[in-house]
């Protein structure tokens, strides 16, 4: 029987209340809890205080606001998967969400929780990195914004400091953009062996801007920066995409584990990056 160690529990009644509770050391936010509570049961995490933010309805939204998609940190995975506006502008999020955990876990797990968990195998981090999203962090003095590409400091570590709370993610809309996410895992609900997300902005058949995110393969900030540089200004065709896949595979840092050896993971990165780019390009043109 797995039992968390002793912990105190407080329910936040407002964002301000949550921020004041979070000023205490060794405090963790709990929302869906589907990563944190298993870690507490294994004693990998032993917070002294849990702040339950499930009651903060003001953080549970998905809206289109001018030229950006805004996703509240407390939006559930199932909310994002069910959101027509998210799917219309960023099919990459629907592709990814279909593969996050399982349908029951997706009902409770939150978008913000996924990002803050900062698990190297977590899908949304790469998807948001590909889409060049921005994280909005509430602070005791107001708020600050951080590009998702600078949000993760390393495995299980983010830039969200003590007394702060991730409030929302903003994704800029770009005309002529298509996006896609491709993942290979061992079975339903499992982490990626490897996955790749692509956002392509096209002018005719020329790539204006490219965003590439990689999951579970040791890419810095979940980004395939060298492959993005290669793509910019080139023709959106299969030769370009294949080469970009090879570059992404060359520059990531997968480690051998029970999900496969390093060369297999590099092979997946090349193939999945190419596939994601092809689908993103097809969607951009559609």
């Amino acid at each position: 029987m797995q039992v968390p160690s002793h912990v105190e529990y407080e329910r936040a009644t407002s964002v301000e209340h949550a921020l004041s509770l979070l000023s205490r050391p060794e405090t963790r936010v709990v929302a869906g809890g589907h990563s944190l509570i298993p870690m507490m049961k294994l004693r990998l995490a032993q917070p002294e205080l849990l702040v339950d933010i499930n009651g903060l309805a003001e953080l549970a939204f998905i809206t289109l606001d001018g030229d950006q998609l805004r996703i509240g940190a407390l939006a559930r995975h199932a909310d994002l998967l069910d959101s027509d506006i998210a799917g219309r502008h960023f099919p990459i999020f629907h592709d990814a969400e279909r593969m996050v955990a399982d349908p029951i876990v997706r009902l409770w797990g939150t978008v913000g929780g996924s990002l803050c968990q900062s698990d190297p195998s977590e899908d949304l981090s790469a998807a948001f990195a590909a889409a060049r999203a921005t994280a909005v962090i509430r602070t005791p003095d107001g708020q600050r914004t951080v590009p998702v590409r600078e949000f993760h400091r390393g495995p299980y570590e983010t830039v969200v400091g003590r007394g702060e709370l991730l409030a929302e993610i903003r994704v800029p809309l770009r005309p002529g953009t298509g996006s896609a996410y491709e993942k290979v895992s061992r079975r339903v609900g499992d982490w990626s062996i490897a996955a790749a997300g692509a956002c392509l902005s096209l002018a005719g058949n020329t790539i204006k801007e490219a965003g590439l995110g990689l999951t579970a393969v040791g890419a810095e900030h979940f980004v395939a920066a060298e492959a993005e540089d290669y793509l910019r200004g080139r023709a959106a065709d299969i030769d370009t995409f294949t080469k970009a896949g090879a570059i992404a595979a060359e520059h990531c840092h997968p480690v051998a584990d029970q999900r496969g050896p390093e060369d297999f993971k590099r092979h997946l990165v090349a193939e999945l990056t190419t596939r994601a780019l092809r689908r993103a390009a097809a969607r951009a043109s559609a």
């Binding site: 160690s5 529990y9 809890g33 589907h34 849990l50 339950d52 029951i104 339903v188």
Partner: protein, 149 residues
């Protein structure tokens, strides 16, 4: 919290998991405690309107909410069509995964009254059965869809 419509108030440790609260504090042993890692789904209950793996939720998080367990499926002594379906189509062998399967099935049918096989398999994809090979579970849920109350 209320459980199956009955109000309960208990002082519990914050670290107590909902599944243990239901089983050990309230004696509602219909919900099963399985893998303890939120993979197997035998502990699925509803929190308000949605199924949740109760081994991955603190009892304190359910404070003030309405919990529904497998004991709350039957109404006035009449089995829910999902329960009847599992009888008619032999949807269980050892029965360990069954309460979680039925709670998810009820939720699925509330939202998709006429699901196809693919939808049913997707809905229960976060739950593990080691006996049936899932065939009879899928048939049981289809039976329930065809025998709405």
């Amino acid at each position: 919290m209320t459980v199956n419509g009955t109000e309960y108030a208990r002082d519990v440790e914050p670290r107590l998991l909902l599944i243990h609260f239901l089983r050990d504090e309230l004696g509602l042993t219909g919900s099963h405690w399985g893998c303890d890692t939120s993979n197997c789904g035998s502990c699925v209950v509803w929190l308000d309107t949605k199924p949740v793996k109760s081994c991955t939720l603190l009892a304190a998080m359910a404070d003030g909410h309405a919990v529904r367990t497998v004991e709350g499926l039957e109404r006035d002594g009449r089995l829910d069509p999902v329960q009847q379906g599992f009888i008619e189509c032999h949807g269980l062998q050892c029965g360990f995964c069954t309460p979680g399967m039925m709670m998810t099935a009820r939720w699925l049918l509330d939202h998709h009254p006429d699901p196809g096989e693919a939808e049913i398999r997707e809905a229960i994809s976060g739950q593990t059965c080691r006996c049936t090979g899932y065939e009879n579970i899928v048939r049981s849920i289809r039976w329930a869809a065809e025998h709405r109350e």
